[in-house]
């Protein structure tokens, strides 16, 4: 087993934490955990979030590698829209939005009474300037797909008009995560201190750590907490230790190892946010051994999904059905769950003339916990079907350089999983920018275009169902399961975020009982 130094450290810390359990079993009874009770005003929430000192980014439109930085930015600045629980897009700085009949022109209305932290009102000009700034960053085209900078305009004081190059029923969804609004003409050198419009104001920021104070005038309503203190943690284990020793009230995205430790402690809440992370196996459809759809289906029948969730995710996850976007309210739960069927898999492979004598390389990385383990476990499961799979671990940089979008067979991971259409547009339609499996399927493309060009709910649901069925049947993705996002919190913390992915930063409604 190849362990790197960091893993050894974490494992060491894990042992430490496990030993702690023995010592600290039988703590106090857990207080009410969920959102029960009347919110109380006041108090300071001490939050731990992961990040590296070398990767610090202060620019809201920059490339935030640190969860800690994104947390601070998302509390100080508002995006136009935000991820929601019942609908996957809800308003934030924009209170309403309306498409034209052709679904190309979208008009966003700025929330009434929205002001910057310095007291000045938010105007459409500020929003236009911020969105154009975002669009002009190196990753801008991926963050606002289909919308060029000159197609972002103001209409009056409180309306912003976005014009997409193509019909897009899901356009508001793409404005959820990075459309942070700053004041027009904020110079780059002042970006770190620029006033936002969010629920908290920046008190200080230093070396990844920050203190935020309540914005008394937030347009989104009253904010219970007086302040939030963010501490950046280099390793999840150090963050878990800080949680266990009571130095922080919330460990954001602490991971499964920490959750196992904390599960035995009655004085710590373990919050599971389902559908947080997808770790699909990608099979190249455009050539190579997996080009035949029967071979791909066989692989999907070979994998033992329950075992993967249990062993790779330590049980903190759910089985998936080879369709990406499991958190989408429109996710097709009625497509029958694919289960392990080795006999059928062997038959399919034989029919397709699959070469059982060859060894197939499955390329993986150690970028996130469990990824390499998923590859190793799959290889073991494939052996039971007579398919020889050799796991090749690549260093992250090499992987993105040499394997990603090019390889025949590799693992990858995706962190925002609440939209089927998002994955279709980004990774599966013909010629899409991140088409990991090199997939091109006329029926799928047609279903996709139907889905995004349809505003009517029923027709849209039907189109989405078709799209997912095709994806389930023959896409290049083997999605065996979904990892939960896991937060640890003290019993006194209420109304914690429930959403997966970036939804973990929604701390504006959190309150503390005393």
């Amino acid at each position: 087993m190849d362990w790197n130094r960091r893993q050894v450290l974490w494992a060491g810390g894990g042992m430490g934490a496990a030993a702690l359990l023995a010592a600290c079993g039988g703590g106090k009874d857990a207080a009410s955990s969920g959102s029960g009770g009347t919110p109380q005003k006041g108090g300071t929430l001490r939050v731990g979030a992961l990040g590296r000192a070398s990767a610090i980014t202060r620019d809201p439109h920059g490339n935030q590698g640190n969860e800690s930085d994104y947390l601070v930015i998302a509390l100080v600045y508002d995006t136009l829209t935000a991820p929601g629980l019942k609908q996957n897009t809800v308003g934030r700085l924009a209170s309403a939005w309306k498409p034209s009949a052709d679904l190309k022109t979208w008009r966003f209305t700025i929330a009434k009474g929205a002001t910057f932290h310095d007291g000045s009102p938010v105007t459409a000009e500020d929003v236009v300037w911020s969105l154009r700034r975002l669009r002009n960053t190196p990753a801008g085209a991926a963050r606002l797909p289909g919308i060029t900078a000159d197609h972002i305009t103001a209409d009056g004081k409180d309306t912003v008009v976005l014009v997409s190059d193509f019909a897009n029923a899901e356009l508001p969804m793409i404005t959820r995560l990075s459309t942070f609004i700053l004041k027009k003409d904020t110079p780059d050198k002042d970006i770190a201190k620029a006033p936002g419009t969010g629920p908290f104001k920046l008190d200080w920021y230093r070396g990844g750590n920050a203190r935020l104070l309540r914005n008394e005038h937030w347009h989104g309503g009253p904010v219970p907490l007086d302040a939030i203190e963010v501490t950046m943690f280099e390793s999840p284990q150090a963050m878990a230790n800080a949680m266990l020793s009571g130095q922080i009230d919330l460990a954001s995205n602490a991971g499964a190892v920490a959750a196992r430790t904390a599960d035995a402690r009655k004085d710590i809440q373990v919050i599971r946010r389902p559908n947080d992370m997808a770790m699909p196996l990608v099979m190249r459809t455009s050539g190579g051994p997996f080009a035949d759809a029967r071979v791909r289906e066989a692989m999907k029948l070979i994998v033992d999904r329950e075992a993967m969730v249990k062993q790779v995710l330590s049980g903190y996850g759910t089985v998936a059905n080879d369709i990406l976007g499991t958190g989408d309210p429109g996710y097709a739960k009625n497509i029958p769950q694919r289960t392990r069927d080795l006999a059928k898999a062997k038959q399919l492979l034989t029919d397709a003339g699959f070469d059982f004598g060859k060894t197939y390389q499955l390329v993986t990385t150690e970028d996130i916990a469990g990824l390499a383990e998923s590859a190793t476990l799959f290889a073991a499961q494939a052996r039971e079907a007579g398919v020889k799979v050799e796991v090749v671990k690549q260093e992250s940089g090499t992987f993105y350089d040499k394997t990603w979008l090019k390889g025949d067979f590799y693992t990858n991971y995706w962190g925002t999983n609440d939209s089927v259409v998002f994955f279709a547009s980004k990774t599966m339609t013909t010629g899409s920018g991140q088409n990991e499996a090199g997939w091109s399927d006329k029926d799928f493309d047609a279903a996709y275009h139907k889905a995004i060009a349809t505003g009517a709910p029923e027709a849209r649901t039907a189109a989405l169902r078709d799209l997912q069925q095709i994806e389930h049947d023959r896409s290049g993705y083997l999605l065996w399961g979904m990892a939960d996002g896991i937060d640890l919190a003290a019993p006194k913390v209420h109304r914690l975020p429930q959403l997966p992915g970036y939804g973990r930063v929604q701390l504006e409604n959190v309150w503390l009982s005393r």
Binding site: G13, R52, R58, P138, I248, G397
Partner: protein
């Protein structure tokens, strides 16, 4: 020590200031020469750092890119970061800016000096405290053990110092974490900082300092003990003992002065070990120092940040080595 005859009277009458000035002059020249040598070494070291990162797979543009960037975006960022230019050119630019205090810009667009502004003093505090503790601990234990060679204390110190030195920092760290924090709750498990970027309370320093100091104290105790044993065999120490002076007086006034050069060299090498160990210890205790910056920067292939950390660490080590040289020069010089 060849000419032991008494100096001529006129020499004794010569003004002391002149000879002191001359000595100071030669000392300054020696310091300058040593500094120049170390500066050249630092240049070579930094060149090696640049070359080594070049050899690693991937580069800063790909390591810090967002998935949506695409080939064109990557190329643009590569150009922005200057990665499309030859490595020697980037090295030349970086090194010529160094004397002005400009350490360049990180792959994520932050000034390296800003990135290091808070962590460097923290690491110096951590390393400095561990260093002082190491020196004091090693001297105390080494002298105590040397007081009665082959006595019980000597044997116990010999065993424990070897064991302490053999323990990697992360084992010591986890042991400390378990006992002093998670089991007893006496000390905070992780470091949390205030608005000034420094640890919020001094108690947060205790475990990281101990984790660094314990292995190094083991190492240096052995050096002190060995150096004192060497000195014990020297004629003047033998003579002092035969004169019937107390053990402590013999050790402190006669043996220890001669042992200084060896001890100084030993603790000076510990500086490098302390700074190296800081990478591990800082990560485990979430201590906000340059070790954590370095670990992340290597993963990001962020050459200016890595070189900045190396330059800072090298500067610290150079100063300590220089001090060790001075101690040696003084001790040996006094006897030549």
């Amino acid at each position: 020590m060849t000419d032991t005859t008494a100096p001529p009277a006129e020499a004794a009458a010569r003004p002391v200031t002149a000879s002191a000035a001359r000595r100071a002059g030669t000392l300054a020249a020696r310091v300058a020469a040593v500094l120049a040598k170390r500066l050249v070494m630092l240049l070579v070291l930094l060149a090696v750092v640049f070359a080594a990162i070049e050899l690693l797979p991937g580069d800063a543009a790909s390591a810090t890119s967002e998935r949506g960037e695409g080939t064109a975006g990557l190329a643009a960022r590569r150009h922005l970061l200057g990665l499309d230019r030859p490595v020697w050119e980037r090295f030349r630019d970086w090194i010529t800016a160094l004397p002005t205090g400009d350490l360049g810009t990180s792959a994520r667009g932050q000034h390296v000096t800003d990135l290091l502004a808070a962590p460097l003093p923290n690491t110096l505090l951590l390393g400095g405290t561990a260093f002082v503790l190491t020196v004091l601990g090693a001297l105390a234990l080494g002298i105590w053990a040397a007081a009665r060679p082959r006595g019980a204390v000597d044997r116990i110190v010999d065993l424990t110092s070897t064991a302490a030195f053999a323990l990697p920092e992360f084992v010591v760290s986890i042991g400390l974490l378990l006992v002093l924090s998670l089991w007893t709750g006496w000390l905070p498990a992780a470091t949390v900082t205030g608005a000034d970027g420094a640890p919020a309370t001094w108690t947060m320093l205790v475990m990281p300092v101990l984790a660094l100091a314990v292995p190094q104290t083991g190492w240096n105790t052995r050096i002190v003990r060995a150096a004192l044993a060497d000195q014990a065999a020297a004629p003047h120490v033998e003579a002092a003992r035969l004169d019937g002076l107390s053990t402590s007086r013999v050790l402190l006034r006669h043996a220890l002065p001669g042992a200084w050069p060896a001890i100084a060299t030993g603790v000076a090498t510990s500086t490098g070990m302390l700074l190296g160990g800081a990478v591990v210890v800082e990560t485990l205790f979430n201590y906000p120092g340059i070790g954590t910056v370095l670990a992340g920067a290597v993963a990001d292939r962020d050459t200016p940040v890595i070189a900045g950390v190396v330059a800072c660490a090298a500067a610290v080590i150079t100063v300590v080595l220089l001090l060790a040289d001075l101690v040696r020069a003084r001790t040996l010089g006094a006897r030549s």
